[in-house]
């Protein structure tokens, strides 16, 4: 076996440096090329994640219990005041609930009259967030469920409050999720109820203040602060009617200029603990060229 002196090692160091830098540049180029296609899995990343996932799950579990205990202790001070407020709100809610029951019954009667079928809820896989992106530059989280639980690439991830993001990498035991607040994430959305509103657009992450930006909403559509934003189901990732958030900033557009809308996500994306992966497969789309009526004529 050849033993190298310190001097020889130091002389060879630039070669090692160049070699390793070239390797990293190659990986970056490959990764940048891969990121352009949302249907390509991030192979190397997901396997490293899978390797670390047991340890991360353990650390996350221990940390979660400790953090939860400390948070509960801290919240005891506010509990009494909060209790009073909640009692008042409960009384208000009961009145609203009665009104909602009446509306639901009416809705069901009308649906029956129209012969509409109630849509099925999507099956979901509950998952726990075991790790977050190590850098501030990007917004991703790691879940403790993967392909062995039925999770697939591009499946939507939600909480009871609203949508969280989509799956961008899957190993058998973990899944990496791109949060909606990341600049590379987007979803088709509508301000108000789909069908009742024409304020259609797309929400995408801003990165600053955890807000989303809603683009392409016609300046002629009525939008106001506090309006809720729902998914349209037209982006091929998220099903229709999921809660995205509410309008918190709004600058009115005109006939030629779209509205400038900022949306606060309903899901608490900075404090995610439990989420659900919707086992949703968007309906297949026919390429537009195949539906052209005179396509056959052109071929002839």
């Amino acid at each position: 076996m050849v033993t190298l002196t310190q001097r020889e090692i130091r002389q060879r160091a630039p070669l090692w440096l160049i070699g390793l830098l070239v390797l990293n540049v190659g990986l970056m180029a490959f990764s940048a090329h891969q990121d352009g296609d949302i249907n390509r899995p991030r192979v190397l990343q997901v396997w490293v994640q899978a390797l670390f996932s047991p340890a991360q799950g353990a650390v996350s579990g221990v940390g979660g219990s400790l953090g939860g205990g400390l948070r509960h202790l801290g919240k005891l001070n506010h509990a009494a005041t909060e209790n009073e407020t909640l009692k008042r709100r409960l009384a208000e809610m009961e009145t609203e609930l009665r009104a909602a029951h009446t509306a639901r019954d009416e809705n069901e009667r009308l649906k029956n009259l129209l012969g509409l079928q109630e849509k099925n809820d999507y099956k979901n896989v509950p998952a726990r967030v075991i790790a977050r992106d190590p850098s501030e530059w990007f917004n991703t989280v790691l879940l403790n469920r993967g392909s062995s639980s039925g999770v697939q690439l591009n499946m939507p991830v939600v909480t009871p409050d609203g949508i969280v993001g989509r799956v961008i990498g899957v190993s058998p035991w973990t899944a990496q999720v791109l949060l909606l607040t990341d600049e590379r994430a987007a979803a088709g959305a509508v301000v108000g109820q789909l069908g009742a509103s024409n304020a259609l657009g797309a929400v995408r992450g801003l990165g600053r203040n955890g807000l989303l930006e809603m683009r392409y909403v016609s300046g002629l559509e009525p939008v106001k602060l506090g309006d809720y934003v729902l998914t349209t189901g037209q982006d091929g990732i998220y099903p229709q009617g999921l809660n995205v958030g509410e309008v918190v900033e709004f600058r009115e557009g005109s006939a030629t200029q779209p509205h400038e809308i900022k949306v606060k996500p309903s899901a608490r994306l900075n404090a995610l603990e439990e989420v659900a992966v919707l086992l949703y497969h968007p309906p297949p789309r026919t390429p537009p060229t195949e539906t052209l009526p005179n396509l056959d004529k052109g071929k002839k």
Binding site: R10, L27, M28, G67, P134, W137, T140, L142, R184
Partner: protein
């Protein structure tokens, strides 16, 4: 020794990805970078390069960043520090502080530039994030260097060797 270093790197990456989950401010403390800087200061250039590359690639695996971006920046930083330490004496804990600060600033800058070059846009305001990262990493790094010294420094190794000899001697005396 190599196993210890591997465990140290793995622990840094593991804590970096999980601790942020409980305390958001910890995102500005770059634990893998602190470990890379520490091993780069130990004058073994090749080991520093390998540690930098592995720690960077492991960090990239958990990040939405391009695979290789952290690997590139941390390898480069490891080399620069290892080259610097052969010319300047940096064994004093005070002298290490500017090295950690410089490494944090350079890491953020290289990462940002690499993503710009590759057509990706990292999100938050660059200067603000870099400033927070510089402060967080420098403060935490100073304490972590002290902890790492207890395990990896030559003095610690000698102390452990003597402790073993003392134990053996005591056993002999009891007999």
């Amino acid at each position: 020794m190599k196993l210890k270093i591997a465990v140290c790197v793995a622990l840094a990456v593991l804590l970096q990805t999980t601790l942020r989950h409980f305390l958001h401010g910890l995102v500005f403390v770059d634990l893998p970078l602190i470990v890379v800087t520490y091993f780069a200061l130990r004058r073994d250039v090749v080991m520093a390069l390998v540690v930098g590359c592995v720690a960077g690639l492991a960090t990239d695996s958990f990040s939405g960043a391009l695979l290789g971006a952290n690997g590139f920046s941390k390898t480069l930083i490891a080399y620069l520090i290892a080259a610097l330490v052969t010319r300047i004496m940096l064994d004093n804990p005070l002298a290490r502080i500017p090295v950690i600060a410089g490494a944090a600033a350079l890491d953020a800058t290289v990462l940002f530039l690499l993503h710009q070059i590759m057509g990706q846009r990292p999100m938050p305001p660059f200067v603000e994030t870099m400033a927070y990262k510089l402060i967080g990493t420098t403060v935490a790094g100073t304490f972590i260097f002290y902890l790492l010294d207890r395990f990896f420094s030559d003095r610690a190794r000698t102390r452990r060797q003597f402790a073993f000899r003392r134990r053996a001697a005591r056993r002999l005396m009891r007999r």
